[in-house]
């Protein structure tokens, strides 16, 4: 359960102050899929950064499973991110010089996961994105779609509760992008991770349960798709 309460983010001082986010409040249940939609400059990336604890709000707070991020020490937030969150970026950010295996191992190393099953977890994650046979290839030799699949493997290896995806299809052609989106949603189902996608793609947003549309730092619209149960109930 993630609760975003009255988040405000302002840059600059007094006269030249710029409000990137203005009194945003949200509530996201575990395992939900959330789309944060908006044009560039609407504040959607800033909201994602604040929700993940990378950035601090000027006002308000974010509560994840009862823990207030803004009350944690930097060390605790780091540990929290290492164990419970992960990221997928538009530009992939995979290390070209390292092998796929080494790329996926990174979160486990950061989270100080010990033991023999480390290797198995990496291989499982690679298998989940269908990159098993590329384990020992260097990431720079992968295609764009493969790179993003590798990034997804890296995002799920730690079995996080929360996956943030920042324009995950922005650098991909539509066919490859669709496959990536399918993959993300299937992972959401199988792992039960909450998926927060930042996008300006309405089609992609439409597949998410919660759609938050931002405009000039404010919530323009907040749509929660009815679940099948509620749809069924409504039909009756």
């Amino acid at each position: 359960m993630i609760e975003v309460a009255n988040i405000t983010k302002t840059y600059g001082k007094k006269d030249s102050a710029f409000t990137a986010l203005d009194d945003i409040s949200l509530s996201i249940k575990d395992g939900a899929t959330v789309a944060i939609i908006g044009k560039s400059g609407s504040g959607k990336s800033t909201l994602m950064h604040i929700m993940s604890g990378l950035d601090t709000p000027s006002d308000g707070h974010v509560t994840v499973d009862g823990t207030v991020l803004q009350q944690m020490k930097p060390k605790q937030i780091d540990a929290f991110r290492a164990e419970q969150m992960s990221f997928i970026f538009q530009a992939f950010f995979v290390e070209g010089n390292q092998t796929c295996y080494q790329n996926v191992m990174l979160p486990l190393e950061i989270a100080e996961v010990r033991g023999r099953d480390r290797k198995q977890r990496v291989m499982d994650a690679l298998a989940a994105v269908d990159l098993s046979e590329k384990a020992n290839s260097r990431a720079r030799n992968l295609s764009g779609g493969q790179k993003q699949r590798l990034a997804i493997a890296r995002a799920i290896v730690n079995r996080p509760k929360l996956i943030f995806a920042d324009e995950p299809t922005g650098n991909l052609d539509s066919a490859t992008g669709d496959k990536i989106i399918d993959l993300l949603f299937s992972i959401n189902k199988t792992l039960g991770s909450t998926l927060v996608i930042v996008t300006h793609d309405d089609e992609l947003a439409a597949r998410c349960k919660i759609q938050v549309r931002l405009k000039d730092g404010k919530i323009d619209s907040l749509v929660t798709k009815p679940t099948r149960k509620t749809v069924a109930r409504a039909k009756k």
């Binding site: 990378l54 930097p74 290492a82 950010f93 979160p107 190393e109 950061i110 100080e112």
Partner: protein
């Protein structure tokens, strides 16, 4: 991040920039090379002087004198001594300088012998013999002294006495005299006889003898003091050892008894008669440094000046240490210069990997771990530099060693460059630490980086 993961990851990122890594580490390698060679040369010289001292001085013996010059090591003293009528004057030093030396008297020797911690007192006979010769051969100058069992001269022929002194009326002859005195070979000379001529001094400047000669109608210019021929049997032939301290010619060695007789004969009537610049004193339990120290302290209280073999060694090694420090400073300067190379390389590395750093921070990597990652990278550069440098030093030094030994005439079994694995390991560790410290600033920059800035895609 656990340390082993950090080490592996830092090594891996260096491998992905091989050329830059190697070039940066080469700068440290130069320092590592210089320092390895310096350390090895220091070891070699120190070991050589150790051998020099132990083969020339008995470590359980002390040199004891009445004059502070006896215990003067290193630089000559600049403070003048007050004139003392009872002190005899004698010239020392190759520069012709003359110095008053307060000598050790028979009373001093009696006192020394009575001390409970002294086992034996050996007088130091500086013999002034005129010449050495053999029937039908030319006459040659020589230096002669008493055989010192502790010195164990190296022999070309014959044998050393198993214990104690050589027999009276026997000599150990330096090999240079063998051919000069007409022997066919070293072996041929053994058991043959030679003669040494010694001369009585003119007492009181010889004034009385001159007057007596004039009275007897003899030209005083032809006057010769009384002299004596002593005949010795050759017991052994000595050769120059690589570790012998001898200025000029090797001395002819005689027994202590013979040396005493000859010394008395040549000094009779002079102020030096029965007096010695210094004597050798054997300390009871002298193998233990504590007994030597105690003896030296007590002798000092009794206004004697002493010098132990350890002090002689120190006076030599002091010079070595100074030289080594000088060369070492150059090595250190190189290392300092290479530090800037590391700082520069690591800054570039941090700037090149802004994205990677941002990602790691986003994934929850702690500042401390990130700092450690980059400092360890610098540490790897230091390790590589140290390893390349000392490997280079070994590659150059080991094959060159025999040649240097030959050129410097160090003698068989002595090497100028002695490489100690422990020292090389310590040096590499030291260079790693220097490199890690050099990596601190770039690492801090990486740790402080704002992940949001770093991950901005445009």
């Amino acid at each position: 991040m656990r340390i082993q993961d950090t080490i592996r990851r830092s090594g891996r990122s260096l491998r992905s920039a091989k050329l830059r890594t190697v070039l940066t580490s080469l700068a440290i390698a130069v320092g590592g090379f210089t320092l390895t060679i310096t350390l090895a040369a220091g070891n070699g010289i120190r070991e050589y002087t150790d051998r020099l001292v132990t083969s020339n001085f008995d470590s359980s013996e002390l040199i004891v004198g009445r004059d502070k010059e006896v215990s003067n090591t290193g630089a000559p003293s600049t403070e003048p001594k007050e004139y003392d009528e009872s002190v005899t004057s004698m010239a020392i030093g190759g520069d012709g300088s003359s110095l008053q030396i307060k000598q050790v008297t028979p009373e001093d020797i009696t006192e020394l012998k009575s001390l409970p911690y002294i086992e034996e007192v050996r007088e130091n006979y500086q013999l002034a013999a005129r010449y050495i010769t053999r029937e039908g051969q030319k006459r040659f100058t020589l230096s002669a002294t008493a055989y010192n069992p502790a010195q164990k001269p190296e022999l070309a022929a014959g044998t050393l006495p198993k214990t104690g002194d050589i027999a009276d009326n026997q000599v150990m002859l330096p090999e240079g005299y063998v051919k000069a005195l007409g022997f066919k070979s070293d072996k041929d000379a053994l058991g043959k006889k030679i003669s040494i001529n010694i001369q009585k001094p003119f007492v009181d400047g010889g004034g009385e003898q001159v007057l007596a000669a004039i009275r007897n109608g003899v030209d005083p210019r032809t006057l010769q003091p009384e002299s004596q021929m002593r005949t010795f049997t050759i017991a052994a032939i000595t050769k120059k050892a690589a570790t012998s301290i001898n200025f000029g010619t090797l001395p002819v060695l005689v027994s202590t008894n013979d040396a005493k007789q000859m010394y008395d004969y040549t000094t009779e009537g002079t102020p030096s008669y029965d007096k010695y610049t210094y004597v050798y004193v054997r300390v009871k339990d002298g193998e233990k440094q504590a007994s030597i120290d105690a003896a030296q302290a007590d002798l000092k209280a009794k206004k004697y000046f002493t010098m132990s073999s350890k002090e002689i060694q120190q006076s030599i090694t002091q010079i070595v240490n100074i030289l080594q420090a000088l060369v070492g400073v150059f090595g250190l300067i190189t290392v300092i210069a290479s530090v800037f190379g590391i700082v520069n390389t690591q800054y570039i590395s941090v700037l090149e990997r802004i994205r990677e750093i941002g990602l790691m921070k986003a994934l929850g990597m702690r500042k401390r771990d990130l700092r450690r990652l980059f400092m360890l990278e610098a540490g790897w550069i230091g390790f590589l530099g140290g390893a390349i440098g000392s490997a280079g030093a070994l590659l150059v030094g080991i094959p060159l060693n025999p040649w240097i030994t030959k050129k410097l005439d160090l003698g068989e079994g002595n090497s100028l460059l002695i490489f100690r694995p422990s020292q090389i390991a310590a040096l590499i560790v030291g260079l790693m630490i220097v490199a890690i410290l050099a990596g601190y600033l770039p690492a801090r920059k990486a740790a402080k980086m704002d992940p949001i800035e770093a991950l901005r895609t445009e």
